[in-house]
Symmetry: C2
Subunit: 373 residues, 2 copies
DNA sequence: CTGAAAGCGCTTACAG
DNA sequence: CTGAAAGCGCTTACAG
């Protein structure tokens, strides 16, 4: 994309590629500036390279590079001279070149199911905070729980030469990935995968807290709703069953595709069938919402007709009437820890696998008031 | 980071940089595979380059490159031969090198205030969908409404040689950026900035709809809550004032830092002062939430004591009792349009500025029922 | 349609 | 502490 001074027209508009503005095009003379589309003056002069800084400071490329990257041994005065020249020229490093040469991309990948899920939103924010703090870029991808997309993005990560990937895999990811090799370590969040490092909610503890709380408040017939598309649904299911057994109670668990609609449908049918439990635990934000809708839709009262609790302290759970008892996940902490583990794994690849289980917080609200009947 | 076959130890652990795993290190012989930390076998052989593909297929680098990038003229049979060789070797392009040489990063930047704001979450999801569909990467940054961070990330975008940036600037961004030149076009979302292209809600229409609806339902003394940190707060304020005037009513607007706490505080004081309006319009999701909390906290009934409406159809607005009347923003459409405009601007830099205003949808719920008193 | 050669902007042993 | 030189992996005029 190149402009001429007089006509302000693009000389090579026929490309359908994105290219950095201001890039020089062989054979075309670049002419200084004009007011651009975006309202800021955009310089059309050649971007200064390290070579220009070397020339301006009377030093060699090598020395300038060392001064700029701040990692070689450089005399302090020399360094200042380089910095001054770079500043004067408005030098900005070309990250593409730096990465190619140094083989360090300073980039990690983050593959989540859907960034619109508040859990992943919070986690990814934590990861980005930690990454940018260390000068690392994050490439965010949404897999939509689709194994094909997962595989595609994982391949993309290879091409991007990322240093590592943080990933919330589907249950099928293991199979899809089997046989593939990666040049980077993988940390999974929320869900386990193979023997990759993993950081997630302490599901066992969380379900214990939930069941204990309901039992303490007088509920005995406690049902559970668990997703069947991820390792997490399985883990929470198992934890629920064992907590129930610990209390000498009979578990009544239903597995489902963890969407709001599926939960609403399933809970609706459950209620209609006449064998509804006294209390219901939903294993994530979406199924909790679906369950609540089904209950409301039938005009039943919470908790008088059926108590309701779940996992994920989403904003709405506190605002509805009655407010819902939930386990709040340490979302920010999960992201932050995943990032820390990734950095650790990059520097110490031979470490044995580690699984970090972070405690959730039981937030008691009105939807599980002590049973009166 | 290099392993030896026997010890499985890292030979160069002293670095604090991220580097792609499997990268060759000059002077160290890389030895084939072992079971890695992450449970997948990771090949330690040299990654094949375009050169290896050329050797394997008996063709030149140039031809291989053309066949692989699919843009030069290449004989179909030749192309197949190259593709087969690449496949056999497990060749993956090095994006760093490609970008350096071609000066096309196939990357755009996205700078939002905070990805945890559901509005930005939805918008960014749309942008990412569109981008990955076209093989473009997205670099996501959170500015936290901090002009210093905005400037920093904008500079980062330069270094990344992005093709363009989509941006939700603060009011101060204009001043902070003044004098700086960018090598890429800027599209702003939600808020205007200088004369950059902009795509946002049709604020005028939105406030018209809101005020018209309230007036039609019998409310006259209608108050408004507007943010004072972005151009959008200003735009909505002005639209509110003019809509009120159109109805011959007296506007009563308050400006504030658009956070939940600030809104709760301000509305609380307003209610306590005794001159509370009959209906209140909050200009975004956070202030709407704060307003609702203040009203509830004082035990007032919605809409009997005070009606409430706002902008942003967040999940909770439908779930609270009573459900809140809101303008739903076309969030996905905003992101998608921004992306389209950016691509357009990249290919046609000389186009005059364009501002796209997208219509929101008035979603009438119980919080603005016809006034009975 | 294909190949030889230059070069994108950097970093990094190597030698002083 | 500094410089000369090689080279990261690719693309792209240029010439055939």
């Amino acid at each position: 994309m190149v402009y001429t001074a007089d006509k302000r027209r693009c000389l090579t508009p026929e490309t359908d590629k994105i290219q950095p503005y201001g890039a020089s095009q062989a054979g075309v003379t670049l002419i200084d500036l004009q007011k651009t589309f975006s309202g800021f003056y955009r310089s059309m002069v050649m971007k200064p390279s390290i070579k220009d800084v070397a020339a301006a400071s009377g030093l060699s490329l090598a020395t300038v590079s060392r001064a700029l990257t701040d990692n070689g041994l450089v005399n302090e005065q020399t360094r200042q001279k380089v910095l001054a020249a770079a500043e004067a020229l408005g030098y900005r490093p070309n990250l593409q070149a730096r990465r190619l040469r140094s083989k360090q991309s300073q980039t990690i990948g983050l593959i989540v199911a859907d960034i619109r899920n508040p859990f992943f939103t919070a986690v990814s924010r934590a990861i980005e905070d930690a990454a940018y703090r260390e000068g690392i870029r994050v490439l965010l991808c949404n897999s939509d729980e689709d194994p094909a997309k997962e595989a595609m993005y994982l391949r993309l990560m290879q091409e991007e030469q990322v240093g590592g990937v943080i990933f919330s895999p589907t249950l099928s990811a293991g199979a899809a990935i089997a046989g593939t090799t990666f040049d980077f370590p993988l940390i999974t969040i929320d869900r386990a995968l193979g023997d990759a490092d993993c950081v997630a909610l302490n599901n066992h503890e969380a379900l214990d807290k939930l069941v204990d709380h309901l039992v303490a408040n007088g509920y005995r017939r406690i049902g559970g709703l668990f997703g069947n598309t991820s390792a997490t649904g399985q883990a929470r299911h198992d934890a629920y069953v064992s907590a129930m057994h610990r209390h000498g109670l009979t578990p009544d668990a239903r597995r489902l595709v963890p969407t709001m609609d599926a939960a609403q449908q399933l809970v609706g049918d459950w209620l209609d069938a006449g064998d509804a439990p006294e209390a219901l635990i939903a294993s994530n934000g979406l199924t909790l919402l679906g369950a609540m809708r089904a209950i409301r839709q039938r005009g039943l009262r919470i908790p008088d007709d059926i108590a309701l609790a779940g996992i994920d302290n989403e904003a709405w759970t506190e605002l509805v009437e009655p407010a819902l008892t939930v386990i709040g996940q340490p979302t920010y902490d999960i992201g932050d820890t995943a990032m820390r583990m990734l950095m650790n794994r990059i520097h110490e690849p031979a470490l044995s696998r580690r699984v970090v289980a972070l405690s959730g917080e039981l937030i008691v609200r009105d939807s599980t008031r002590p049973r009166t009947a």
